[in-house]
Symmetry: C2
Subunit: 120 residues, 2 copies
Amino acid sequence: MIADTPSPPYYAVIFTSSRTAGDNGYQEMAELMVRLASQQDGFLGIESAREEIGITVSYWRDLSSIQKWREHVQHTVARNKGRSDWYSAFKTRIAVVERDYGFARNSAVGNDIESIVDLR
Amino acid sequence: MIADTPSPPYYAVIFTSSRTAGDNGYQEMAELMVRLASQQDGFLGIESAREEIGITVSYWRDLSSIQKWREHVQHTVARNKGRSDWYSAFKTRIAVVERDYGFARNSAVGNDIESIVDLR
């Protein structure tokens, strides 16, 4: 689902990864992490897809909420398993969303096409 | 493939979408857009995956290169087809990548795990 984030500015954590072979408990942990992240203060939404590579973008109110989630005990355990077992490579990028716009055929996704603001 | 982007700061355009049913020329155009984008001045890399939703993140040197790609004639034609035919919904977010770090089992992906910098 496309995340229904508030008006910018807010933060995006772009996590791109390549998986090792086999599940090895990955799927269960991935689902737990989404549930846990969603409960954290400052969490704004998450979007995820995997084909050749996986991309997960989570959205946060500020750096402090990202930092707190990073220090969460279960998240730390999962990150360590990621390095030891699940990922052949990953890259994490922390970014400030400065503007956004969207379009939805039947219902609004954030700002409607009507409110598209040209890049300046 | 995980994009081999330079050291921050640089820009990310996070494009999240839901597709309508059927291909309707989408795949061919998507491949053309990746080829064309890669040739633009300021292009730094692109990552893409689709399951329930599609996420494409393209990386750019600055806002000016994003704006020029936005105004590219063939990209404009594709964007219009996106609204009329291919997408039931999308959201575009323009963000400044402030920091990044990564890990690769066999070869470096950007900065190695050794150079992970804690969030401050």
